[in-house]
Symmetry: D2
Subunit: 147 residues, 4 copies
């Protein structure tokens, strides 16, 4: 239940096109599960190719999912002509990324003409249980054509 | 020129083994270029498979390199029996990750029995020029067997 | 409605004593409004002495309130013999700190033996309206006497 | 030795005026020690009124010094008509703020038309020794009058 009004009525198609334009998402197997104005949920399967020394998914890969969730959530509220880039984010790793499926949920905390602030949470599905494994706060920037 | 004294004389082999134990590093093509107590330099080739919608390397992948540089740098100063995990990091993206080769340099700012604080910088090599594209500050934790 | 079980049945008195032991809180006029296991709400009046060049409360002062809210929230879940210190935090400033009263709400996201992770939000009360002006994510550490 | 060229030849007077316009700085006793394009050093005396429960200066007060150092450093590189605000910062607390004098050094990592990225370090002077106690990375924004 979103509280934001998209500026671009075609936000949904635009966000999906932006997401699909990212080879990194295909390589990591990340897909969009849910999309609403200012909100997105992504999912990623476990892949041994992206693990660290203890067999858990690497923090950078979890961060890629969280960052992309923030980016898509922010992008749904931007005007049609905007591009988007990430300014900065902080990832907090609460628990090892152990599981067969990972979910990344992001929502916009405050949209703005130039900067949009998002929060995201990563969950791991392991042996029938879902647990919070990481959080992100991030700043996204709209790239607008100069008048 | 490092100012830190490693606790484990075999720190070099231990750090290389920890790094080589990470499938994600092989998948991303990241290698160790330089290693000293509390300092490390990694390098990664460009790969179209890890790009975002503008053809630049994804921020999550740059973060994976930065985080790993911090982890290896911190690990060189930990005792032999320690495992390591990342607690949190912040990545600031100063410029698009455009280039054919990326370098990640990390150094320990303050080592500790439990927590070690690191800083890292990512550089892109593009058309003969090297430029700073991202910075990280991170907190790493030593996992010690309980007495 | 807290989901955490305090380790110290006297957590309430211990948290209030820790808070009251901070001269900075008295100087800033910050008081505890609500306290539960893993949750706290603080309030601070506007003071011209702590403003920046536009007449808004300085970001460092807002951060002092957010950090203290995180610290007290984390402290309620620590064992009786623990001291507490802040490891790091990130503050995101969503809007100017304009108002006559400020509220800082923190909650524990994940408690741990050594590290506890918290999130906090700052609100400004201005002309009868309450608005979110800043967020924090922070890492707190329990200082335990060595066995 | 600064590497940045100020856009406003009167940057020095402008930065000092902005700093002096902040009542919070007077209240905390913070002064400018050194100022150059993209670089600043501030100093603050110890004050018992701003300590926490262990007698150290409160992390929020250290953050106020670090944030202000970043703000002034960024402001020296902005055009004359710009206002400035802090977008976000992360503070890492490496050691307790114990000492009779504190120094905050900030420098611009990357200036930009809209966003400027800074890094700062806080030092404590205690019993004749100066030690690094905290670091900050922050994002500052230029507020420009719309054309």
């Amino acid at each position: 239940m979103s509280v934001f009004e998209p500026k671009d009525p075609g936000y949904r198609a635009a966000a999906i096109a932006m997401f699909n334009g990212q080879p990194a998402m295909q390589t990591l197997g990340i897909v969009i599960v849910r999309l609403a104005p200012g909100e997105v949920e992504l999912a990623m399967p476990y892949s041994a190719a992206f693990t660290q020394q203890n067999g858990f998914v690497h923090a950078g890969i979890i961060t890629a999912g969280l960052d992309n969730a923030c980016g898509v959530a922010a992008f749904t509220l931007m005007p049609r002509e905007a591009g988007i880039l990430t300014v900065e984010f902080k990832t907090t790793l609460l628990a090892p990324a152990r599981g067969m499926r990972f979910v990344f949920k992001a929502e916009v905390v405050k949209p703005g003409r130039t900067l949009t602030f998002c929060e995201a949470r990563a969950f791991a599905e392991h042996e029938g249980k879902t647990s919070l494994i990481a959080t992100m706060t991030g700043t996204l920037m709209a790239m607008l054509p100069r008048a």
